[in-house]
């Protein structure tokens, strides 16, 4: 186990809710797996399965922001739902600050929901249209046993924190607010139970650029104020670079690369990450792309290609890639600096002609 950066250690040390100590990651995910069955026929038999999340392991340090990127269908949203226990997992373990979640002797689910909250992409459909927003924010604390008066006071304080005037906005309904304001409400609601880890699933993707900047700044402020850890899921690679300490790249339900943000963006190892980064648009009309870096769509997660799942779209694919699935070794060696890629080219002696010998 390597040294935790001093800034992270200080953050964790200040928090009375801390159980595992500063070096204990906020979240460890071990071999998480979720296959959705496809049923058909007269007997409704299981004929196939969608391998949405397939053997995913990673960790998130305290006070860190982990960005998760990938194309639609790569399993990033399923992963978020599995972490929240909104979808039951098939296999694997989720360890929150040193304690396993669920099962005998583990953290119970309502305890989990107090520590772990989520902000969804669609700011309107995630709010109850029939509740004034003050009540929406106070709902969580009420359910968890707070008195009405205390819950309302908490809601008003949080609205202040996210930049909404509680007297003006408190009695409003979601349809009376703009997209950016609604997303602020969702953030306030997620914070109402005083969580330690926030999962932001495409939380700024539906917003206009100028509003997106406001919300990103708000998220950075709140992170410091409330001593939060973020998992930030997005398909916008510019935003992920700006907000994340480390970045995890997913493809067809698996992690293909993980590492510190700088080194992923400056020196990507996996060909998929490289192609994905090449899809970023420049602001310079003189630097136009004439051919798309990634052709076609990802293959179906029902029948993922054998070997490396990316080999069908990879420019460097060789025979070994079609036969042997590259592994992401050392995903749970707790070092914030390690940069890993599941690619044969990155493994010495893998049999790929470009691998180190």
């Amino acid at each position: 186990m390597s040294e935790t950066p001093a800034s992270l250690r200080r953050l964790a040390a200040q928090d009375p809710r801390d159980r595992g100590g500063p070096a204990q990651p906020m979240l460890i995910v071990q071999g998480l797996r979720k296959y959705f069955p496809i049923r058909a026929g007269l007997l409704n038999r299981r004929v196939a399965e969608v391998k949405a999340v397939d053997d995913v392991s990673f960790f998130v340090m305290k006070g860190e922001t982990l960005g998760i990127v990938g194309e639609s269908g790569c399993g990033k949203s399923t992963l978020a739902r599995l972490l929240m226990h909104l979808t039951p997992k098939d296999e694997g373990a989720v360890i929150l600050d040193g304690e396993a979640v669920g099962g005998a002797g583990g953290v119970p689910l309502d305890g989990l929901r107090r520590s772990l909250q989520m902000v969804f992409q669609d700011s309107s459909s995630s709010l109850n249209p029939r509740l004034p927003i003050e009540q929406s924010i106070a709902y969580g604390p009420r359910v968890q046993g707070a008195r009405p008066k205390a819950a309302r006071a908490r809601a008003r304080a949080l609205m202040e924190k996210v930049g909404l005037n509680p007297t003006l906005f408190g009695p409003r309904y979601p349809h009376e607010m703009s997209g950016g304001q609604k997303q602020r409400v969702n953030i306030a609601r997620a914070l109402s139970l005083d969580p330690r880890l926030l999962i932001l699933d495409e939380a700024v993707s539906a917003l206009d650029k100028s509003v997106e900047a406001q919300v990103l700044n708000l998220l950075s402020d709140l992170k410091k104020q409330f001593n939060l850890t973020y998992i930030f899921i997005s398909h916008d690679l510019h935003v992920v670079r700006y907000i994340s300490d480390r970045v995890m790249v997913m493809y067809l339900g698996q992690v293909v690369e993980i590492g510190p943000s700088e080194s992923i963006y400056e020196a990507p190892k996996h060909p998929y990450t490289r192609a994905l980064l090449a899809c970023r648009l420049t602001m310079d009309p003189r630097e136009r792309v004439d051919a798309a870096p990634l052709a076609g769509d990802p293959p179906s997660p029902v029948r993922p290609p054998p070997g490396c799942r990316f080999h069908t779209r990879c420019a460097f694919a060789e025979d070994v890639c079609k036969r042997v699935a590259p592994r992401l070794d050392g995903a749970l060696e707790l070092s914030a600096e390690s940069h890993l890629a599941a690619c044969h080219m990155d493994k010495a002696g893998s049999g790929h002609s470009r691998a180190m010998h």
């Binding site: 639609s72 900047a213 402020d221 935003v239 700006y242 310079d284 630097e287 136009r288 798309a292 076609g296």
Partner: protein
Amino acid sequence: MNDMTSIDVAAAEPFLSVEDLRVRFVSREATVRAVNGVSFGLRRGQVLCVIGESGSGKSVMMRSLLRLHPKKRTVIEGRIRVGEHDIGALSDRSMIRLRGALMSMVFQEPMTALDPLYTVGDQIAETVLRHEGGSRKQAFERALELLDLVRVPSPERRLKAFPHELSGGLRQRAVIAMALSCRPSLLLADEPTTALDASVQIQVLVLLRKLQRELGMSMIFVTHDLGVAAQIADQVAVMYAGRIVEYGEAADVLLNPQHPYTRAMLAATAKDQDRSRPLEAIGGAPPDLRHLPDGCSFAARCKYVVAPCQVGAPPEVVAARGHMARCVRAAVAAGDLAFDEAGVTAR
């Protein structure tokens, strides 16, 4: 067009011209002024990108080109000319003939633009039959050709597919195929790539640019993403509160932005920003289109605001290559626009 001169005139004259377009939505409670005096021209084979945030009037402007607004509730003023047609003066019947044939539109959300109950082939063939007649067989052959044109892999199979059986990227290609089915001269694209993944977005952008060039179409492309505009635009128009606040060649507007709003938008993007500093977000919110301020609509959020901004709508300052900014601080220096940081001319 028999002699050379008339061809030259036709090439120089814009294919689409919009003059002082104003669109108001009237209801019992309020009047929403969505578009407030928009003028521009677009030549044949050129791509104009309209950039703006929600509520800037960009989609309303596009829809008025096709006259898609409900008649009873909408007041449209100004002149729209496409080719030799005066859009405002056309009868409903001739308008129906023009939609899809002279100009057609690609919408943002391909899933809602397609009918879930019919196959992709049925829907493309229907458009072809409606405008060009012929037999069903010919229409399906044309549909197959079109799917091939927009580079849909194994088009024969996709022709018989329902919209839900296609991925987002393929669906959007099918919608584009449908829009191109009657060889329109003007393609209106309303955020066609916003709902797509970055990897698919770039595929669709490259495809649209290629098709636009091959078919010699003019195109208006609405987006809120400056990176998309940089990829596809010949000219860029930046809209705010129903007005074009900056206009010019793509390189001029994106690399040498002059209006404070364009500058603020570029500064607010997360691209290549220092992680240790907060983003330069634009404070506040766009104005309420029911009660627009008298002066510059951006004045309330502008960090360069001076007294004259509040008085009247700022003048259009035009420089070389038609680069225009609607700001009291914009000035022309050596032919190009130059932003007056100190505010000398604005006094």
